[in-house]
């Protein structure tokens, strides 16, 4: 599948933003984070900026962005519509909770509970847009949803860690959570890649054409001499050697370096701020690489009509 930069940025940034809001408010709800004013302002600002920038960028790949409001209407059947509704609905409890946190230095539990639930559900809805597409086996499987949650909460956890260090919250809890989330996300990504490397797909050129009854099916002549929309959008291919390099970058940047940096930050409190900045930035680079691969490695069954043998 063609890796559209607007969608890669949107899913990475909003995943981190929603996870940061969810984590920060979850911990505050159970009394493990103080409702400190400046920490609150920075946390909400960072989370909401990431979300808003992501949502705005997601409208860039639309053919008619001025009609984007219509996308809130079909939540009964469409995960994309559900995601839109949830994404925008999250602003309400986020605004109310932020108000209490910043002006009264209190956690208002009702909006905070809604905020945690909606933010987490929005990440799930984003994942389900892809996981629900039967045409793309590499998305339509049990790994996609955990993958989005894992990557989102790993980024969000690292952000929270950095904010904790910035505002000198002495609790080691954000760091421990970040370590746990990054490790879990790495485990899920390992499982996801093992699955896509071993799965051969459900459809073949034989089932796509129904000509499998005669033997192996090969494309003899394409319908046209030049690329069409279908091939540009769904026939995107990435070279195997680039995949290997990009996966190494993901392992290193999204998981390994942040993990080491957070552990070092726990051991060397004087350097912790700088180490955590490194952790957040490399994780962002790793997450974007992971998301690029998530699209670029995905194979669509329509390619079976254009020479692919299985998808």
């Amino acid at each position: 599948m063609y890796p559209a930069y607007s969608v890669i940025f949107f899913t990475s940034a909003s995943g981190a933003g929603y996870a940061l809001l969810a984590l920060m408010n979850m911990l505050a709800l159970i009394g493990l984070l103080p409702a400190e004013r400046w920490f609150g302002i920075t946390g909400f600002l960072a989370g909401l900026t990431a979300i808003t920038a992501g949502l705005l960028s997601s409208t860039y790949h639309l053919g008619r962005p001025e009609r984007a409001w219509r996308a809130f209407s079909q939540w009964r059947s469409s995960w994309l519509s559900r995601e839109g509704v949830l994404a925008v609905a999250t602003y309400l409890p986020a605004g109310i909770t932020a108000l209490g946190w910043v002006f009264w230095e209190q956690i208002w539990w009702l909006p905070a509970v809604f905020l945690v639930a909606l933010a987490t559900t929005t990440i799930c809805a984003t994942a389900m847009i892809y996981a629900s597409l039967k045409t793309i086996r590499r998305w339509n499987n049990g790994w996609t949803l955990p993958n989005y949650l894992g990557m989102g909460f790993a980024s969000g956890g690292l952000w929270l860690c950095l904010l904790g260090s910035l505002f000198a919250l002495s609790s080691p809890l954000p760091a421990l959570l970040a370590i746990a989330f990054v490790a879990i996300a790495a485990g899920i990504k390992f499982g996801y890649w093992r699955f896509v490397d071993t799965d051969i797909g459900r459809s073949t050129a034989g089932s796509a054409t129904g000509l499998g009854r005669f033997g192996a099916v090969r494309l003899f002549a394409a319908p046209h001499t030049e690329e069409n929309y279908l091939l540009k959008e769904m026939g995107f291919k990435v070279a195997r050697k680039h995949v290997a390099t990009l996966r190494r970058i993901t392992w290193l940047c999204a998981f390994a370096i942040p993990l080491v940096a957070v552990i070092l930050a726990l051991l060397l409190p004087t350097l912790s701020l700088w180490l955590l900045i490194v952790a957040v930035l490399t994780n962002a680079l790793g997450t974007v690489t992971e998301r690029w691969l998530f699209f670029a490695e995905a194979r669509h069954v329509v390619t079976l009509y254009y020479g692919a043998e299985a998808a």
Partner: protein, 252 residues
């Protein structure tokens, strides 16, 4: 509404495509383009149409496949357009309500005034039936010529999809596949018409008729080429200057 009709349509209009007959002439694709460039889904934009890298929106594309090996192998011309599925995800994934399946006859359409061009429906379609029109910024797809089949200003014989009306060999049939007594349904039953990618679970309305079994002794590619003898005797035209001139003209 992008939810599918709750009561499945009793009329299920669609196409039956005979892969035994299709000669791969692309006339159906050309007439489809011609009709729809001015019809319900118009315009069907082309970019650089006469240049080096032409691209554009087509509802119907003709692939050619080889299946099997040697004497048992086949070359099959394979036209493909929207299959107007019973349970198509291209409709349910649409966030705006632009995509819909008609309850009355099962035709799947796009309301261009609602479409935001998010392309998700094209991702959800296994058959490549939906194409994005870069120029208009919305999704386009086969309408089963909804602006022909119900068009009372056309002669009755013309009220079929453009691709069906133009097929020079009669490889395309149009009718009600929800009615078991219709000629298309009987054709499907008789010839064991099948669904494309049934494992997707979209339950396509359009059916494909498989190439017929090869007749025994019908020649073909059994190794050595068939021996047909000299193609033609070379005539002696030395005494016929006019015929010699005609011969030269024709063999030029």
């Amino acid at each position: 509404m992008t939810s599918l009709p709750t009561e499945p349509a009793t009329r299920r209009l669609g196409l039956v495509i005979d892969l035994d007959i299709c000669v791969g002439c692309h006339a159906c694709a050309v007439n489809c383009k011609e009709w729809n460039a001015g019809g319900h889904m118009a315009p069907l934009t082309d970019f650089d149409a006469f240049g080096e890298k032409p691209s554009g929106v087509w509802f119907n594309r003709i692939h050619t496949f080889e299946a099997g090996e040697g004497a048992d192998g086949r070359t099959v011309h394979f036209p493909k357009s929207c299959l107007h599925c019973e349970t198509p995800d291209c409709v349910t994934v649409c966030p705006t309500g632009a995509s819909f399946k008609r309850a009355a006859d099962g035709i799947v359409l796009v309301n261009e005034d609602f479409c935001i061009g998010c392309k998700l429906c094209s991702w959800a379609c296994p058959y490549g039936a939906r194409e994005f029109d870069e120029d208009v910024g919305v999704m386009k797809k086969c309408t089963l010529c909804v602006d022909r089949i119900y068009n009372e200003t056309l002669d009755t014989v013309e009220r079929v999809p453009a691709c069906v009306s133009t097929c020079p060999v009669g490889a395309r049939h149009f009718g009600d596949l929800g009615d078991p007594t219709s000629s298309v349904s009987q054709l499907v039953a008789e010839r064991e018409g099948y669904d494309l990618m049934p494992e997707m679970g979209y339950r396509p309305t359009n059916k494909y008729l498989p190439p017929r079994p090869r007749k025994v002794g019908s020649g073909g590619t059994n190794g050595a080429p068939c021996h047909t003898g000299p193609v033609a005797e070379q005539a002696d035209l030395s005494a016929h200057p006019f015929l010699r001139w005609v011969d030269r003209l024709l063999t030029r």
